[in-house]
């Protein structure tokens, strides 16, 4: 019944996540900046898996590809897979306390970055800098905050 309201919220927060993701920042900050959009997509696909599912993941991934100038479809694939995991295990995830959720998110972000890394390697862009893995940790640390903030946007059940 609140589907439409929720959809608006989902899109709005995703756009905010995208903007935070691509906002120009000083170099040392970009390294530790968490992948906001991925976190937002993860949140919505665990909380409302039948409204914001794989389609949101795919479109967000494409947006990341365009704004970051990476190979078209690279982030889309990675984000799609992570979203699939979130949708598949959303009940499991929702039953956990926030702290434990963070661990799952950490795992998801690692898988996400691993996929990107593999694709980068295959297409000959492999840049083996450990800096690219930093955001998985900061993202997991930030998860309780993201979940708390997005929980406020949630349409009442």
């Amino acid at each position: 019944m609140n589907t439409r309201e929720n959809l608006v919220m989902i899109l709005l927060t995703s756009v905010i996540g995208l903007v935070l993701n691509i906002l120009p920042l000083p170099t040392w900050l970009t390294a530790v900046r968490p992948a906001f959009l991925v976190l937002v997509v993860l949140y919505w696909s665990t909380m409302t898996p039948f409204v914001a599912g794989l389609a949101l993941g795919f479109i967000s991934g494409l947006a990341l590809d365009i704004f970051q100038g990476s190979l078209l479809g690279e982030h889309a694939l990675a984000l799609c897979f992570v979203t699939y995991l979130a949708v598949r295990f959303h009940l499991l995830m929702r039953a956990k306390p926030l702290f434990e959720q963070s661990l799952y998110v950490f795992a998801a972000l690692l898988i996400y970055e691993l996929l990107l890394w593999v694709v980068d390697g295959w297409t000959g862009r492999s840049l083996s800098s450990w800096l690219r893995w930093v955001h998985t940790a900061t993202g997991a640390l930030l998860w309780p905050v993201i979940a708390g903030v997005l929980g406020r946007f949630h349409a009442p059940r």
Partner: protein, 353 residues
């Protein structure tokens, strides 16, 4: 199971394909997109359209920084403007003086080469573009600028600032384009040491204040303070544009190659406005057309579609040099090919004086 689900989801639940199937569909779609973007040329058109759609967001994202610059500009005091003006005037005088001397030298050079006709100016046209975005990923050194095909920007166009070479255009959208900086690890630029005309290749390091010269032998004549200029072989930049200054040379007894670092002369980290240049093909120092270049083994980063661009042998590279033996061998071959290409590529000017 549905008892745990939100009420929101329920109306749709049970209908439609399963998440697994949908994931498969999207994954295949992504893979097709990746394949097309990597291999096929026409995907550039999809990118073009998507970049057009992305432009408003890029502008919006950049607006806080732009507003800040605007505010500081509009509230700068009369005194600071005045001192800046004086400084600029001083600078103009210096440049004029230098130019006078340069013109005399150029004429003398032309006489010496018995070229009777006066040379056309090297730059046919140029435009100023504003930087509206920087790449947000570690190691990737890219800029987004606010000029696109509507302003005549094309792929492989040279991007410079007053002090030196900055990079080249890789993707063009209708109103914006993406510039790969010379410090990007995927970028390699053929350069020459001014002191002894030694040719080599400068590769980006991934940080904005450093270039690497990985293909110089331990016994090659290079030292700190050497100035690097573009050699004109890449096909994007003309011969003789300032690129970088060598800041460190390390020679180790058990290595064949010296480890040379250089700092770019262009203001790469602080660039807010950049110059896009079109060159006069008739000028001897202008980048050669693709016909005169030997095509290297490197694949092309961006399709040589728009206008005057060419296959940029050795100017942008992909998937080489991870420090492995094959990469070194490949590039040794490239530098061996370089002198052979030189006479054809850079007609009279860049040769011996």
């Amino acid at each position: 199971m549905a008892g745990f689900g939100t009420t929101v989801g329920r109306p749709i639940y049970g209908r439609g394909p399963s998440p697994g199937l949908r994931f498969t569909v999207y994954a295949v779609l992504s893979l097709v997109l990746m394949y097309l973007d990597q291999r096929a040329r026409w995907s550039e058109r999809i990118r073009y359209g998507l970049e057009a759609a992305a432009y408003p967001v890029q502008v919006a994202v950049n607006s806080p920084a732009a507003t800040w610059h605007w505010l500081t500009d509009s509230f700068s005091t009369r005194n600071s403007l005045r001192s800046q003006n004086l400084q600029l005037q001083q600078h103009v005088h210096e440049l004029e003086l230098g130019n006078l001397r340069l013109q005399a030298l150029e004429q003398e050079n032309a006489r010496l080469r018995e070229l009777r006709a006066a040379l056309p100016p090297l730059a046919k046209s140029w435009m100023i573009a504003e930087v509206i975005g920087v790449e947000a990923v570690p190691l990737r050194q890219r800029l987004i600028i606010n000029k696109g095909t509507h302003d005549g920007v094309h792929v492989n166009q040279a991007v410079v600032d007053g002090a030196g070479v900055l990079g080249q255009v890789v993707h063009v959208g209708p109103w914006s384009s993406e510039v790969i900086l010379i410090t990007d690890p995927e970028h390699a630029l053929p350069v020459q040491i001014t002191r002894n005309e030694l040719r080599t290749i400068a590769v980006g390091s991934g940080s904005a204040d450093e270039l690497l010269l990985p293909y110089l032998a331990v016994n090659s004549d290079v030292k700190s303070g050497d100035v690097l200029i573009s050699s004109g072989l890449g096909g994007v930049f003309p011969a003789g544009f300032p690129v970088a200054r060598v800041i460190g040379v390390r020679r180790e007894a058990n290595q064949l190659l010296a480890q040379v670092r250089a700092e770019p002369l262009g203001h790469i980290a602080a660039a807010r406005e950049v110059l896009l240049i079109d060159f006069e093909p008739a000028h001897p120092a202008a980048p050669p057309s693709s016909a005169t270049l030997i095509e290297g083994a490197e694949p092309v980063v961006a399709p040589p579609k728009a206008g005057s661009s060419n296959g940029e042998s050795g100017s942008t590279r992909k998937g080489t040099a991870k420090g492995s033996g094959t990469a070194k061998r490949k590039n040794a071959a490239a530098s061996a090919a370089a002198p052979a290409a030189a006479p054809a590529a850079t007609p009279p000017k860049a040769g011996k004086p």
